[in-house]
Symmetry: C2
Subunit: 182 residues, 2 copies
DNA sequence: TTGCAAACGGAACAAAGTTCCGTTTATTCT
DNA sequence: AGAATAAACGGAACTTTGTTCCGTTTGCAA
């Protein structure tokens, strides 16, 4: 129980930043599930160093995209539900493999969904609540479910088969405004 | 170019059936991405034997679920779009890990989506076309996209966080009936 | 400068997909 | 029944990749 926690050594601070920079570059090129060795090589560190700074891959992904998630959360201040959801989808679609990873229960990714959602769900909840109270949106879908559904619809958007995630999300949002629950 | 191809040996025929039975059981217990070794052990054969009969995992998955896919296709003869889509979703949701695998570009699964879709897309196309012509459904969503979206919405349905895939699909279908494309 | 421990690199380990080769087995022909 | 052939086999070897671990290096405080 140290009265004064000793700050990180300078090399550790430097390496953590190197890892973040390297991961950001590798994620663009090879996706968020690029091999650990590729990220380590790009950063010029050993693989053990990655685990020391980021125990699971989700930790690294979250750290790399933290700024953008924060921006997304802040964007909720001036948005209505539909626009914010589309921004959320854009975020997922433009990060190579992120939508898939979000939905994935593969080792290392288990907490990815949770980590992002903790930050973004309150925003979505507020915007959804406003729409529900205005009587514009059905009230049987929870914020979490909506976010998961939107995240799922983003999977495969990078493919070459013309799947348009944005269009399907528009369809889903249209369905959200359907108040007839027959 | 043999004039008469020699039929499979009896042991090969027997082993292929053993593999299908074993895989069906293992998929229920451990999901469609269960380790090859687990399936081989269950079948009482070597791992090489799996690859001889089913070069990629998708081949095995397709073979195991072939009957059910055929039933689903046949069910389209007496169904309207909404009901058939819900049946399609039920199929995906009740097969442990299948929805995820369908959406996945992981090694071995690349062709899974294609294989199933080749069989089911014509059914969906017919049902969707009927609804479009009757003016009940928007006409800007292709059958393939609808099926992919529905498949994606099924991902995570097995989780313990209360995500209700069926409800989100109902929302999507409600959106499909929204003819206002503003 | 010394002592201490944080932090390191990368080998070792584990898991799992896949290939490959010596051996076994089924089948046909005599 | 035995011989010949090749289909089919089992599982070791190989590859890839996630993760741990330990001898060594490095940063920092005294």
């Amino acid at each position: 129980m140290p009265a004064t926690a000793r700050p990180k050594r300078s090399d550790a601070v430097r390496n953590e930043q190197s890892l973040l920079d390297a991961a950001a570059a590798v994620f663009v090129r090879s996706g968020v599930d690029a091999p650990v060795r590729e990220i380590a090589r790009e950063a010029g560190v050993g693989t053990g160093t990655i685990y020391r700074h980021f125990p699971a891959r989700a930790d690294l992904v979250v750290a790399v995209f933290q700024h953008q998630v924060d921006s997304l959360a802040a964007a909720g201040d001036d948005a209505v539900l539909r626009d914010w959801i589309l921004q959320f989808a854009d975020f997922l679609v433009t990060k190579h493999g992120l939508a898939d990873a979000m939905a994935s229960d593969r080792s290392g990714f288990e907490r990815l969904h949770t980590e992002f959602v903790v930050r973004l769900e309150p925003v979505c909840a507020r915007l959804l609540d406003a729409e529900v109270h205005a009587g514009r949106v059905r009230d049987d879908v929870r914020p979490l479910e909506l976010m998961r559904a939107v995240g799922n619809l983003c999977i495969g958007a990078e493919g070459d088969d013309g799947y348009d995630a944005r269009r399907m999300i528009e369809v889903l949002l249209a369905g959200m405004t359907s108040l007839d629950r027959g």
